[in-house]
Amino acid sequence: MQPELFPRAARLTALALMVFLAGFALSLALMPDRAGHGLANLCHWDCGWYRSIAEAGYDVSPREGTLEANFGFYPGFPLAVRGVMTVSGLDFTAAAVLLNAIYTLLFVWLALSSREELLLRSDRDATVFVLAFLLVPLSLYDRVPYSEAQFNLALLATFVAWRRGAFVTAAIAGVVLTATRVTGVFLPVALLIELVIRERWRVFGLLAAPDGRFRALAVMPLGAIVFFVYLAFHVGDPLANFRVQSVAWDHPIGNPIDNLLEAITFPVLANVSGALAFLVAGGGLLFGIWRRRIPLPLALTGLGIVTMPTVTGLVGLPRYALALFVVFLVIPAVPKVLQWPLVGFFALLQIVMVVLWVGLD
């Protein structure tokens, strides 16, 4: 990372945090009864599961009276928050919000330092990309106690380290990536595809004498695998994570086309927003490949991450698709006259999104 870019990264991060804080302050002004809850207003839905893991570890069995269990969630993020809690003495929500702010700063600094690797053509393009990603409404999930910020940083760090030939760093970041969410495995798969295409004349030579690239790719999925092995001994079922997601949260494996068509046949908000997010993010990623705005391995990873939820239902797809930085690498391809108004519009929508988030029961 380039030290001279740190002040710029700090300013961009501060701007994003100020937009988020503006939304939070507006929320408390509109809902004064919530002011007494402080940062706890930011902890909804999956946050509660991450908190239970960070505070008490993984459940041994599903919870009585429900089909749910916290082993439906991956360990990377709650483990990191647990570390911050131990060092700082903060409670879960404060530690997670602080950690996500640090992740955001590191992400911006690394992104600004990696223009070439990310196919960003100028400093202006890099700034537009960073601000569009940080201010998009669903980037709310990069601020609140969710695993998105860690996933985005680990994804970027793994890719950049790989591109720079720092394969040990890439392997370590890749382990964090796949321990944060199993869909991180799409990155080593995409890097392998790119490697095989590039080295197609000497694939067997590479297998006969593996180098740092091969070794890094082999190590990256171990973050998820170690979790599955842990579940085998803790719960008795290494696939407990998938099973509880499928049964308790109704995410069975199904036909992605049928699931997408549900946006038309059963047009509730979750289905329509999921299908729209799929179309917008998937279209953006394909456009990015076509116009060489997104590096192929990142675009393939993004397509995997965006497509996966269509197999298991559309709930959560907007978050997976539109809180992912890869999609926003195409924003610098938007006509320049529209770029800053678009970023400003994103910021206004994020403020609205924060108000809606705080207002959740």
């Binding site: 009585e64 593996p210 085998a232 079922d237 407990a240």
Partner: protein, 51 residues
């Protein structure tokens, strides 16, 4: 076979063993299996459905 080739073999063997382990290991309780694996019960714990 060189040491480096053996490394490739070892990685493939490791991943093969992992896949075998993930697909075959199950020491969970019968109640868990009824709900999450066989899907013959829809209430957790499964015994509660019979009560």
């Amino acid at each position: 076979m060189s040491l480096r080739t053996l490394e490739t073999v070892a990685w493939f063997a490791l991943y093969g063993a992992i896949i075998f382990f993930l697909l075959t290991w199950n020491t969970a309780s019968p109640a868990y299996n009824a709900v999450y694996v066989e899907r013959t019960a829809t209430v957790w714990p499964a015994d509660a459905a019979a009560d």
